[in-house]
C-alpha cells in the first residue's frame, strides 16, 4: 500500500485560520495525557495550567506583561518572515536592546530628566537595529545565510551582556554581584492600577501591532514586503530593490526586538542582570507563525504563549510538575501547527495497487 502527500489544488481559506485553533486543541489534549502519565488527574492538571493563572487580576496583569515582549518581537519578525527573510536571532537583538537601554539608564543614574526614559527606549531601539544590521549586511555583501548568522550572533549578545554586568557596568556598591546599578526612577516605565506588572509598555506593544497591521495590509511597504517574499523576480519587475527590502525588514525586526528588550529592563528588572535573555526571542517565532504572520493574530498568540509560561510555573508550584513542561508544550504546539498547515495544503493519497481503477 502506498501513501503519499499530494498538493491540494485549492487549500481551504477557512482552514488556514482554523489551523492554529486545531493545533492548540490537540496540544491541550496531549498535555492532558502527559498529566495522566504522571499520575495527575488531567482535569486538575489542565485547570491548574490554563485556568488558575487567569483567576486573579494581578495574574492577568502579569500575563499581559509577559505577552508584551512576545507580541512586540513577533510583530517585527512577521515583517522578516513575510519577506522570506529568516531572522532567527531576535533573542540577540532583544538582548542588545536591553544593553543599550540599560547602559543609558545607568550612565545617567543621577538624572531626573523627563527625557531620560525616551532616551533609554530610543537607545534600545538603536541597539536592536544595529545587531540586526549585521546579518543583513552579511547577507547583502557576502550572501551569507541569515539563519546561521543571526542565530550565531545570539550567544555573542548574551555573553556581551554577561561581560558588561561583571565588568564595566557592574554596580560599584553591589558587593561584586554580576549586576548593574539600579536604574534611576526617571528611566523606569510607569505602571498603572497600582500594579507592579501592568506597565505602559503593554500599550506600546499593542500600538506597534496595530501600526504594523496598517503598514502590512494598506501601505506600499507591506506590499513590497509581500511581493519580495513570494516572488523575487516580480519584486524586481515592480522596481523594488531586494537589498533595500533586506535591510528594511531586518531593521524593523531589530527595532521591535530592541524596544522589547529595553522596555523589559526598564519596567521589570530595573537593572541589567545576566538572566535578562529568557528565550522570548525564540518563543516569538512560534508566536509569529501561530498568529498566521498577522500582527493582530500575534497579539492573541502572544497571550497564549505567555499563559504557557505562567501555567508552567503554576503546575510546578502546585503539582510539583517540572516547569520543563512549558518547553514541551511550546514544542508540541509548533510541531502540530506545522503539521496542520501541511495537511491544509496537501492531502494523503492512499493507493492499494500500482494502478488504481477508478471511475
Amino acid at each position: 500500500m502506498f501513501m503519499r502527500l499530494e498538493a491540494r489544488s485549492e487549500p481551504s481559506p477557512i482552514m488556514t485560520y482554523l489551523s492554529p485553533v486545531i493545533a492548540v486543541s490537540v496540544t491541550v489534549i496531549i498535555v492532558g495525557f502527559i498529566f495522566v502519565g504522571m499520575g495527575i488527574d488531567p482535569f486538575v492538571g489542565l485547570k491548574t495550567y490554563f485556568i488558575t493563572p487567569l483567576a486573579k487580576l494581578s495574574s492577568i496583569y502579569e500575563l499581559l506583561a509577559k505577552a508584551s515582549p512576545l507580541v512586540l518581537i513577533a510583530v517585527g519578525l512577521i515583517f522578516c518572515f513575510r519577506a522570506n527573510i529568516w531572522n532567527i536571532g531576535a533573542e540577540g537583538q532583544y538582548t542588545l536592546g536591553a544593553i543599550f537601554g540599560g547602559w543609558v539608564a545607568v550612565s545617567f543614574h543621577e538624572s531626573e530628566s523627563m527625557l531620560l526614559l525616551p532616551a533609554v527606549l530610543l537607545a534600545g531601539v538603536v541597539g536592536g537595529m544595529l545587531w540586526a544590521a549585521i546579518p543583513a549586511l552579511l547577507k547583502i555583501y557576502f550572501k551569507a545565510n541569515e539563519i546561521l548568522t543571526s542565530l550565531m550572533l545570539t550567544p555573542v549578545a548574551v555573553l556581551l551582556l554577561d561581560y558588561l554586568v561583571r565588568g564595566p557596568l557592574r554596580d560599584p556598591d553591589g558587593y561584586n554581584m554580576p549586576e548593574s546599578r539600579f536604574f534611576p526612577d526617571a528611566a523606569i516605565l510607569p505602571t498603572l492600577f497600582n500594579s507592579y506588572s501592568f506597565h505602559i509598555g503593554i500599550f506600546v506593544s499593542l500600538l506597534v501591532a496595530i501600526l504594523a497591521t496598517v503598514l502590512l495590509y494598506k501601505a506600499m511597504l507591506g506590499y513590497k514586503v509581500d511581493v519580495s517574499g513570494s516572488a523575487p523576480r516580480a519584486a524586481r519587475f515592480g522596481g523594488f530593490s531586494s537589498i533595500r527590502m533586506t535591510i528594511i525588514v531586518f531593521l524593523i525586526s531589530g527595532a521591535c526586538a530592541g524596544l522589547a528588550g529595553t522596555m523589559e529592563v526598564s519596567a521589570r528588572t530595573g537593572q541589567l542582570i545576566p538572566t535578562i535573555p529568557l528565550g522570548y526571542g525564540f518563543t516569538a517565532i512560534i508566536v509569529a507563525f501561530l498568529g498566521r504572520r498577522n500582527p493582530i493574530g500575534a497579539v492573541f498568540a502572544g497571550l497564549l504563549l505567555a499563559l504557557s509560561y505562567m501555567g508552567g510555573e503554576e503546575v510546578q508550584v502546585k503539582l510539583q510538575v517540572p516547569s520543563d513542561l512549558t518547553g514541551v508544550l511550546q514544542g508540541l504546539l509548533l510541531f502540530l501547527l506545522l503539521g496542520c498547515d501541511t495537511l491544509i495544503n496537501h492531502r494523503f493519497v492512499f493507493s492499494r495497487k500500482e494502478i488504481a481503477h477508478e471511475s
Binding site: 489544488s9 494598506k218 506590499y223 513570494s230 519587475f237
Partner: protein, 510 residues
C-alpha cells in the same frame, strides 16, 4: 498487425483535474505517429505515462499485444522505449561522451563510449564531437546528445517531446532526415508537436488531443494545416489584421546604442553592443532560439538590470540607461515579461494587488505610501472587461487563473496605461489560439495609435504576423533590423543559427 504500443482507455487525474481522460490509441511498428494538441491539451502527461514517469489513474498499456504495468522509466527503457524530453538533462560541465556514459553500464571504458557515440552520430547524420564540453554546445547539438543517448539503447519506440521548439528551421530539417531514417529501419516514433507543417510533412498518423480528450485520429498528409488547427483548437480561428505600413519619417521613440550587459547568471548570455531603434507606430520583432540572450535583453530594456551607460537606452529622447524600471515607466514605457506567474504577476496575490505591481509608480492607485484598493478594483474591472479575462471569482488570486487568462491580464494591465513604448517578451507563449489572436490584435492596435513596440518572440509565425521590421538575436548579438516584407523565413532561420550566408551546421563552433 499487432500494435507496438497500445494505449487502452488511459486516464490521469491530478486532484480533481483530469489531464487525460479515457484515451485510446495504437502506435504501429515503424510509423511516425504525431501527437498533436495545444499547450495544456495533455500531450506531455500522456507520454510521461508511456515512459513510466507518471502512473495512470485508470486504463492500461499493451506492448506487442501483452498487457504491461509501466513501473518506471527504467522498465520503459528495458522494453525499448526511449524518450527525448523538451528540457534536457545534461551536465554542462561534462563532455558529450561523459554525459552519454552516465546512462550506460558502469564498466564501459570512456574510449568505447566515445567510439559508440561517433558510430551512431555518423550512421544517423547527427554530427557530434564526444570530447566537447556540453556548455559550449548549441541547443540543437545538445538535443543530438539526448537522441544519441536513446539510440545507443537500441529503442523500438522513440518519444520526442516538442523537439523542434528549440531548433532553427535548418536544424529541424536535419532532425527530420534522422527520424525518417530511423523509421525506415523499423523504429516507431511518437512525435509530439503543435506545429502543423512539420507534422503534415513527417508523420503517417496523427492523434489529436484537446482538453485532455482524444478528439480525432487522421492521416495528417490528407488534411490542410487549417483543418488540423481547427481540430486542435476546436473553433474557427480568426486572423489578425495588420495596419498600414510605417513610413520612415515617424519619430524614433525607443532606441539603444551599444547596449552591453554582462550576464548576471554565470550560465547566462552576455549582451554585446545591441543597437535598435523603433519609430512611432512600428513593431520590431526580435526572433531567436531560446537561450540566446532574450531574458537578458528584456531585463536590460526594462531597467530591471541597468545598462553600461546612460545613453545606451533612450526613451522619447531621454537617456535612461542608468535609470530603473519605474523611472522608465514614468516616461510612458510599459513592459510585459515572458514568465507570467512569478515575474509579471505574483501568484498568491489578488488581481487588484497585481495591478499595483506595475502601475504604482505612475497611477493614483497609491498616495503617500497608502494603497487605494477601491481604485485598483476599478482598474482590474477595466482590464477584465477589455481583454475578456476569465477568473473563477471576482478579484481572484493570480495563480488561480489559467495561463491564457493571466497573460491577457498581464497584457491588458499594461495596455490600459496606453504606453508610448512597449517591450514585450513571448506575448502568446502557451496561450490558446483565441487569446493569442486577441493579444496580437491589441499589439497592432497600440502601434497604430503611435506607440513603438519591441516584441521578443521565438514563434516565427508570430514574428511575421505582426512585425513591421525583424531582427534576430543570437548569442547575445542582435542582427540589423530589416523590413518584414524584405526578409524571408529562411533568412531569419540562418540568422538564428548565428551566421549570415552559411549552412546551419557547426555554426556554434566559436
Amino acid at each position: 498487425m499487432t500494435a507496438l504500443l497500445e494505449v487502452k482507455s488511459i486516464s490521469k487525474a491530478f486532484g480533481d483535474f483530469y489531464a487525460n481522460s479515457d484515451i485510446s490509441m495504437k502506435i504501429m511498428p515503424g510509423e511516425i505517429h504525431a501527437l498533436l494538441g495545444e499547450n495544456g491539451a495533455g500531450k506531455s502527461t500522456l507520454v510521461k505515462m508511456m515512459y513510466g514517469v507518471l502512473r495512470p489513474t485508470a486504463g492500461e498499456f499493451h506492448w506487442n499485444g501483452q498487457p504491461i504495468v509501466m513501473t518506471g522509466p527504467a522498465f520503459a527503457r528495458e522494453l525499448g522505449i526511449g524518450m527525448v524530453f523538451q528540457h534536457f538533462s545534461l551536465f554542462e560541465a561534462l563532455t558529450v561522451g561523459e554525459n552519454v556514459a552516465l546512462s550506460l553500464p558502469k564498466d564501459l571504458a570512456m574510449s568505447d563510449v566515445n567510439q559508440k557515440v561517433r558510430e551512431v552520430s555518423e550512421n544517423y547524420g547527427l554530427p557530434l564531437d564526444p570530447d566537447r564540453a556540453v556548455h559550449s554546445l548549441s541547443v540543437g547539438e545538445r538535443q543530438r546528445i539526448e537522441i544519441v543517448r536513446c539510440l545507443l539503447q537500441d529503442p523500438k519506440l522513440l518519444i520526442m517531446d516538442e523537439p523542434t521548439s528549440v531548433l532553427t528551421p535548418q536544424e529541424a530539417d536535419r532532425l527530420f532526415e534522422t527520424l525518417e531514417q530511423l523509421s525506415s529501419e523499423g523504429c516507431s516514433i511518437l512525435y509530439i508537436s503543435h506545429k502543423l507543417d512539420e507534422v503534415r510533412r513527417l508523420c503517417n498518423t496523427a492523434t489529436i488531443l484537446r482538453h485532455g480528450e482524444l478528439v480525432a485520429s487522421c492521416d495528417p498528409s490528407k488534411e490542410t494545416p487549417r483543418s488540423l488547427a481547427e481540430m486542435m483548437v476546436g473553433t474557427k480561428i480568426s486572423s489578425v489584421s495588420k495596419a498600414d505600413e510605417v513610413t520612415g519619417d515617424e519619430k524614433v521613440r525607443f532606441s539603444t546604442s551599444n547596449l552591453t550587459v554582462p550576464a548576471e547568471d554565470p550560465l547566462g548570455t552576455d549582451l554585446k553592443a545591441i543597437n535598435m531603434s523603433v519609430r512611432s507606430g512600428e513593431i520590431l520583432g526580435i526572433a531567436g532560439v531560446a537561450g540566446n540572450g532574450q531574458d537578458e535583453l528584456f531585463n536590460a530594456l526594462s531597467g530591471e538590470v541597468l545598462a553600461n551607460g546612460s545613453d545606451a537606452v533612450v526613451i522619447d529622447g531621454v537617456a535612461v540607461g542608468k535609470q530603473g524600471i519605474n523611472q522608465r515607466r514614468k516616461l510612458s514605457a510599459a513592459f510585459i515579461p515572458e514568465e507570467r506567474n512569478g515575474h509579471a504577476a505574483v501568484g498568491d496575490l489578488s488581481l487588484s494587488r497585481n495591478a499595483l505591481l506595475s502601475t504604482h509608480a505612475t497611477s493614483p492607485n497609491q498616495r503617500r505610501g497608502l494603497i487605494d484598493d477601491g481604485a485598483l478594483r476599478g482598474y482590474v474591472d477595466e482590464v477584465v472587461k477589455h481583454f475578456d479575462v476569465r477568473a473563477s471569482k471576482d478579484n481572484a488570486n493570480a495563480a488561480s487563473l489559467s495561463g491564457g487568462n493571466l497573460q491577457k491580464f498581464a497584457v491588458g494591465r499594461e495596455m490600459l496605461r496606453e504606453p508610448g513604448v512597449l517591450i514585450v517578451s513571448q506575448p502568446t507563449w502557451g496561450v490558446d489560439a483565441g487569446a493569442a489572436a486577441v493579444i496580437r490584435q491589441a499589439l497592432l492596435d497600440l502601434a497604430s495609435r503611435g506607440a513603438a513596440i519591441v516584441m521578443i518572440s521565438q514563434d516565427l509565425e508570430e514574428i511575421f504576423e505582426v512585425s513591421d521590421s525583424i531582427a534576430v538575436i543570437s548569442e547575445g548579438t542582435l542582427s540589423e533590423a530589416r523590413p518584414a516584407k524584405d526578409i524571408t523565413v529562411e533568412e531569419v532561420g540562418l540568422l538564428m543559427g548565428g551566421i549570415t550566408g552559411e549552412g546551419g551546421d557547426h555554426v556554434h563552433a566559436a
